[in-house]
C-alpha cells in the first residue's frame, strides 16, 4: 500500500515536471525579424526597415507577441528618419516601442510538428504611439525542421493611431495607409 502511494507520487511528480518542461518548450522566441514600412504616393515612395524586433509564438495556445523598437526604423534619407521620430509623427522618445499582442485564430489548422507552409489568421491588438487598435490579418507560417518562419503583409491606416497630416509636404508625400511587411524566424528550443 505504502509502495503504491510512493510510486503514484513519483509518477505524478514526473508527469507534472514533464508538462512543465513541455510548456516552456512550446514558446518559440525570435530576435531575428524584419519589419518594412512602405508608403507610396504620386509624389514619392518611402520605405523604412527595422531589423531589431523581438517576438514570441506559443505553439500550444497560439499566442503571438511582438515588440518593435521604433527608433530602429531606418530610412534612405536622414531627414525622413528625423521626421519619423519627431513628436508630430511617431514620437519615438515618448513611445519607444510598438507592440502587437494576439493569437493565431485558426491554430487547429497549423501543425507545428509537421514541415510545411500553413495559412494563419492572426487577430489581436496593435499599439502604436500609445494607441491600441484591434487588427485581424493573414499570414503564413512555414515549418522546416527546427525553424519556424512567419510572413505577413498588411496595411495600417496612420490616422487610426493619431498620425495625421493635413497640409504641407508630409500630407502630400506620405500615404494615408502604409503597407507593413513582417518576417520573423523562430527556433524550436
Amino acid at each position: 500500500m505504502k509502495t503504491t502511494k510512493i510510486l503514484l507520487t513519483a509518477l505524478l511528480t514526473i508527469a507534472i515536471s514533464m508538462t512543465a518542461f513541455s510548456q516552456t518548450g512550446d514558446r518559440l522566441v525570435s530576435s531575428k525579424a524584419h519589419i518594412k514600412f512602405f508608403s507610396t504616393t504620386p509624389a514619392e515612395d518611402i520605405e523604412a526597415n527595422n531589423y531589431t524586433s523581438t517576438s514570441t509564438i506559443n505553439t500550444s495556445n497560439g499566442n503571438v507577441v511582438f515588440s518593435v523598437p521604433m527608433q530602429g526604423f531606418e530610412f534612405p534619407k536622414a531627414l525622413m528618419q528625423r521626421h519619423f521620430n519627431q513628436a508630430n509623427f511617431l514620437d519615438t522618445k515618448q513611445f519607444p516601442n510598438a507592440r502587437f499582442v494576439g493569437k493565431i485564430a485558426n491554430l487547429d489548422q497549423v501543425d507545428f510538428s509537421t514541415n510545411g507552409t500553413y495559412n494563419a489568421q492572426v487577430e489581436g491588438e496593435m499599439t502604436i504611439k500609445g494607441v491600441t487598435k484591434p487588427i485581424r490579418e493573414n499570414g503564413t507560417i512555414t515549418i522546416s525542421g527546427n525553424s519556424v518562419e512567419i510572413n505577413s503583409k498588411f496595411n495600417i491606416t496612420l490616422a487610426d493611431y493619431g498620425i495625421e497630416f493635413v497640409k504641407g509636404k508630409p500630407a502630400s508625400n506620405i500615404a494615408k495607409t502604409v503597407e507593413v511587411t513582417f518576417i520573423g524566424e523562430y527556433q524550436k528550443q
Binding site: Y51, Q71, G72, A78, L79, Q81, R82, K93, I183
Partner: protein, 157 residues
C-alpha cells in the same frame, strides 16, 4: 544712374538668396545619416550598469538616452559576449550579457564592421560602440526581459 545701381544690387542679393536657400534645401534633402562611429561617445558604461539603470527607472532612462529626432545617445558598452548571430540584413548581432543578468545589450553591427564581430569569442569581455535604439524592460506578454538595442556598432580596441 543711381536707380540702375540699386537694381543691380537687388538682383545680386536676390540671386545670392536663391543660391543660399537652394543650397540649404538641397543639403537638407541629401543630408547624410550621422556617422555614429565617427561621432563622439556620450556615455561609457558596462552592459550590467545600463540594464540596472533601465530596470530601476524606465521613463527616466529613456529621457536620458533617447533623443526626440531619433539621433539618440552614442554609448560605449563593456560586457561579456554571450552570443553572436546575424539579422535579416546580413548584419552581425553581438549580445553583451554578464553572467547572472536578466537582460543584456544587443549590438547590431554594420556590413563594414561585421568582421570585427565575427572575430569575437563567447565569454570574452569587449567594449562596443553604437547608438541606442531602445532600453531594457520586462514585457509580461513576451514573458521575458527585452535587451537594450544598439545599432551601427563596432568594437572599440
Amino acid at each position: 544712374m543711381k536707380k540702375k545701381k540699386l537694381l543691380k544690387i537687388a538682383v545680386i542679393l536676390a540671386a545670392a538668396g536663391l543660391l543660399i536657400g537652394g543650397g540649404v534645401g538641397l543639403y537638407m534633402f541629401f543630408m547624410p545619416h550621422r556617422d555614429v562611429q565617427k561621432s563622439p561617445t556620450d556615455f561609457a558604461l558596462t552592459s550590467s550598469e545600463l540594464v540596472a539603470e533601465y530596470l530601476n527607472d524606465f521613463e527616466q532612462s529613456n529621457q536620458k538616452y533617447l533623443s526626440q529626432d531619433g539621433n539618440s545617445k552614442i554609448l560605449e558598452v563593456t560586457g561579456t559576449v554571450a552570443g553572436i548571430s546575424e539579422d535579416y540584413n546580413g548584419q552581425k548581432v553581438v549580445l553583451l550579457k554578464d553572467p547572472g543578468q536578466v537582460a543584456g545589450v544587443s549590438c547590431t553591427f554594420m556590413h563594414e564592421t561585421n568582421s570585427n564581430a565575427t572575430a569575437l569569442n563567447i565569454g570574452q569581455t569587449v567594449t562596443i560602440k553604437g547608438v541606442i535604439r531602445s532600453g531594457v524592460f520586462y514585457d509580461p506578454d513576451l514573458e521575458m526581459h527585452l535587451n537594450a538595442v544598439i545599432e551601427k556598432s563596432d568594437v572599440i580596441f
